[in-house]
Symmetry: C2
Subunit: 416 residues, 2 copies
């Protein structure tokens, strides 16, 4: 590669300023942002993003799911564009970086290419995916899901927010219902830069996560049926305490994950006790299970082991335990060439990097089913996200954006 | 004792019919009763009870907590009366027997004495205590509590129901605010017949529980403080899962009770998880602890052992665990002479009886602090109570009432 290209660097200050500018739209009470998908705030953020892209001479396309593609021409515009981006919407009490960083890092790549008059072989595109968070319209990642053929367009359009407004009408209301059918747009590759939203990079003192895929998830609901009875009149030997059995299951699931290191994860996040009275033994307990593993067969084995333990606990306590599968999202593996481009870029930049799996879902985890994809993670303070206190340092954001630049250049090619 | 007295028996059919008649007032949807304290339904039940007592030539006194005392004169009316009773109010979805049995069994004793023209030495009284259940006005057993000096009268009067009506006004509204200061009435002894509300007698195939006291209760709230984090991005090794620690505590409390048989009881009846999201590790869990034991020093030891285990769990999980004492109701021991009267009565009637501790609170557990007291339990189906399906057989109710009759005669004395 040309020596001058190897020394090309993005402008970290400009990137930081753009992130802070967008954060002003729908500002939170505690330093973050509140910019739910397709609200007036989201419209303002989209408009500012489009204005910035137009200022870089990009052409703008909006598809019928409201995804925005800003295109910078290449030397060979017959080639499918090399795309990067993420999302501009936030959680109700969201941070300034989750999603926004990926969109504006991609824009910063375009700005850097423009100011250095670099001509890529394939065109470059910056994308903002609609409603990634899922906070206003369920499910999350709905528009990248339609793009990838995972969700039907009519299904997505008909999703309603809490006020009964459909996603379709919300797109129309803010002027982002495009003509191009979502999914028709070919992409040569997709890169998504994102804060890690976990503690792994920070703990390892690494600046770059070379994300090789997303883990699989299985969600379940469990109901344990015991018997309501009086805490004062029921001997210990005569109880069917559903909370006692549920507590054992919580411990069992934790051990199950610990016994399958380093990737297995098991979490009980919701648990409801009925009747919920101080002096009544719980007759019924319902709770959720979230099982994760990067390998689908390992995820199946975790489920199988869980089922066997539940049978044992059910028999021992003489209580019915009902397991209801809720959702299965299989693991995804990113594209080897894209991963290699990220890895090489990090190496050539001399950054402390590690390969890792994405713990959370991202638009890239949907699109990777139809487009060669990889992700770049940067550390975030204490692994905290979906919280106004979410923070990433300007230095780490700059480093991740430089990796994005060079990974994209590798895949897009540069006219010498 | 006179041979004819020894063969005296109450009328089981009459007792059953009276119980069923009262159950018609505020009938439940599923065979039980809904007769909250000092409602129109309670007034109707009180009025019927008073009518029945007057028909037995009893004189009626109502104190300023609405407790009704129906007196049958004795040979020596200077002696304090030997009293028996319980309460006519019910839970919102209450049964037909809890409380009502004790009042009507005492009335049946009076009826039996009248039809057999038995003159007791001390007068006999039947009592209906106000608001035992605590479903309308907190706390439970409020009027027997005022009688016993545990609660201040003004405090009790000022308690409000959910609609903001004070207990004082409710007493006035239904015409049961008497003049006599509650607690001023001397009683020579108090007996309370009651369904067990637990499974012990049924399991042991015994008809009579000779209740020797009430167990002590300590209530606590526990808050475990962990850290909210993402179920997909937080490695198992990096979690502060408050629900995991709380689950261990639930198991620990159960073992603590099992390790201190046969009397120790430990129950977690309420448990709330925050933030309560399927894919968020619980940052905070609050739950209740109900510890019981018939011996106060054993109850203290249970608390101490619990505190030590909490310290260990807190250290091991590196999470703050806050223990908040909510209530301590020390154990009560009933009067040896009254217990002996019950025991002898059961023996002389040839009934299968066992000594036992009351698991639940009762008016007798309050009044026993100032009056020689004992209780008589009869089995109830499956130990079920506070439920419309609550059931006791006519045979067991009759047996318990015969024990009550003979215990009262022993203590009151009979004119030969």
């Amino acid at each position: 590669m040309d020596q001058s290209i190897q020394h090309l660097r993005i402008n970290g200050d400009r990137l930081w300023k753009s992130i802070m500018d967008i954060a002003e739209i729908g500002p939170g009470q505690h330093g973050g942002s509140s910019r739910l998908a397709l609200t007036e705030e989201d419209r303002q953020a989209r408009d500012l993003f489009v204005k910035w892209c137009r200022a870089e001479s990009c052409s703008i396309s909006v598809d019928d799911m409201g995804n925005i593609f800003a295109r910078r021409s290449g030397a060979d515009n017959a080639k499918p564009p090399i795309c990067a981006g993420s999302h501009l919407d936030t959680q109700p009490h969201g941070g300034r970086f989750d999603g926004i960083y990926g969109v504006l890092a991609a824009l910063e790549v375009v700005r850097t290419l423009n100011e250095n008059a670099i001509k890529t072989r394939a065109p470059i595109e910056v994308v903002d995916w609609t409603n990634e968070e899922g906070s206003r319209f369920a499910p999350a990642m709905i528009a990248s899901g339609v793009y990838s053929g995972l969700f039907d367009r009519q299904y997505a359009w008909s999703q309603q927010d809490a006020a009964g407004i459909s996603l379709h009408d919300a797109l129309k209301d803010i002027g982002y219902l495009g003509q191009e059918p979502c999914g028709d747009r070919p992409l040569g590759a997709l890169f998504e830069a994102h804060i890690e939203q976990g503690p792994i990079l920070e703990k390892a003192n690494n600046q770059i996560g070379i994300v090789t895929g997303g883990q699989g998830v299985k969600w379940f609901d469990i109901t344990v049926s015991g018997q309501d009875s009086h805490s004062g009149t029921t001997p210990m030997s005569n109880r069917k305490d559903a909370l006692l059995a549920a507590s054992e299951i919580v411990g069992m699931l934790n051990r199950l994950a610990l016994d399958n290191p380093p990737h297995a994860l098991a979490t009980v996040g919701c648990l409801d006790v009925s009747p919920g009275s101080r002096n009544t033994i719980a007759g019924s307990v319902c709770f959720t299970v979230d099982l994760r593993h990067p390998e689908d067969d390992e995820l199946d084995k975790l489920e199988q082991a869980m089922r066997e333990s539940l049978d044992e606990i059910s028999t021992r306590h003489a209580m019915d335990i009902h397991l209801e599968p809720i959702w299965h999202n299989p693991p995804v593996k990113f594209d080897p060439e894209c991963i290699e481009a990220v890895s090489q870029a990090a190496g050539q930049l001399g950054l402390r990097a590690q390969k890792m799996i994405s713990g959370a879902g991202h638009d890239a985890c949907q699109v990777c089913r139809v487009v060669p994809t990889a992700m770049i993670f940067v550390p975030c303070l204490d692994g905290l996200s979906h919280n106004e206190a979410e923070y990433a340092t300007p230095e780490d954001l700059e480093a991740g954006c430089n990796v994005l630049l060079h990974a994209m250049l590798k895949v897009a090619g540069v006219e010498s």
